[in-house]
Amino acid sequence: MTGNIAILGYGLSAIGPGIGVGLIFAAYINGVARQPEARGMLQPIAFLGMAIAEALAIFGIALAFVFKS
């Protein structure tokens, strides 16, 4: 089996953000379901939270390429 161990690192780094983003959108959906008029207010917050949680996965993919060779 050939490949690069850095990809494994990316896979690991994607676990946390995956769960995090899931939680954020679960909360967002809950909030909107309970109070549909709050959608406009919650939407930027949800995407902001997603962006912050996602940052870790992005570092992961970047570092996977950095340490590839």
Partner: protein, 260 residues
């Protein structure tokens, strides 16, 4: 590389990072690449579209004008006004609107024929946009609070004295490093990874369709999946344009806010 080699490969070669390197004229660091060409095309398209749809300034809009107005209203009221505050958001609207439209069109190039190559999949472009945002939000922050005041405003007021250096250091890293790096890499990563996925599906499906045995069936399924992936890519492309603009507005809003 000839077409034949790709059509009838003896061994499947998965797509890699090299697929994004498509120099059209020249080679090396100063080569004119496909992504550069697409960026130029996008400028022409955006210019033409915005000019054509807003030329009449009709009170009862045509379809095109309505679309432009919808996007503009979304950026103006949904992003800029909400995140920067209704006092000084108006001077940042051109920047945010340009960012949104530029990223959106270039992202959509990733799935729309005949372009089919996301400009933002080449990291030079996200870095260029991030540089602009980075400079702008530090510049407006310093202009508003003064050079010393701006750095002071990074630390929230009312903190115990002992914690101030640590928090300042953390905020400094966030402001100077984390924010711009993630901003650029998020856009790049999404476009790059999404496009690699699509290449994988298409070339993999093509390879299987041209193989013997039962593999062509899987190849067909893969190509159907490609269609679904394309729709998903569309969603991601629009979403990333939104997220980039949203974060740019948020950083600018944080820099000009009275209380940090």
């Amino acid at each position: 590389m000839s077409i034949e080699a790709a059509v009838l490969p003896t061994q499947y070669e998965p797509p890699g990072t090299a697929d994004f390197w498509i120099p059209l004229i020249g080679d090396g660091a100063w080569a004119f690449t496909r992504a550069s060409l697409l960026a130029l095309v996008s400028v022409g398209l955006i210019w033409w579209w915005l000019h054509a749809t807003t030329k009449k300034k009709a009170l009862v809009p045509s379809m095109g004008q309505m679309g432009t107005e919808a996007v503009y209203g979304f950026v103006r009221n949904g992003i800029a006004k909400d995140l920067i505050g209704s006092k000084e958001f108006l001077k940042f609207v051109p920047l945010l609107f340009s960012l949104f439209v530029f990223i959106l069109v270039n992202n959509l190039f990733g799935v729309v024929p005949p372009f089919q190559n996301p400009t933002m999949g080449r990291i030079g472009f996200p870095i260029a946009l991030t540089l602009v945002v980075f400079v702008v939000y530090h510049w407006v922050g310093i202009k508003k609070h003064g050079f010393v005041g701006y750095w002071k405003s990074l630390v929230p007021a009312g903190l115990p004295k002992a914690m101030v250096p640590a928090i300042f250091f953390l905020e400094l890293i966030t402001d100077m490093f984390t924010r711009p790096v993630t901003l650029a890499l998020r856009l790049f990563g999404n476009m790059f990874a999404g496009h690699i996925m699509m290449i994988l599906f298409i070339t993999g499906g093509w390879y299987m369709l041209n193989s013997g045995g039962i593999l062509p069936i899987f190849g067909g399924v893969t190509w159907i999946m490609t269609f679904v992936m394309t729709l998903f890519e569309l969603l991601v492309e629009v979403l990333q344009a939104y997220v980039f603009t949203l974060l740019a507005a948020l950083y600018i809003g944080g820099a000009v806010a009275d209380e940090h």
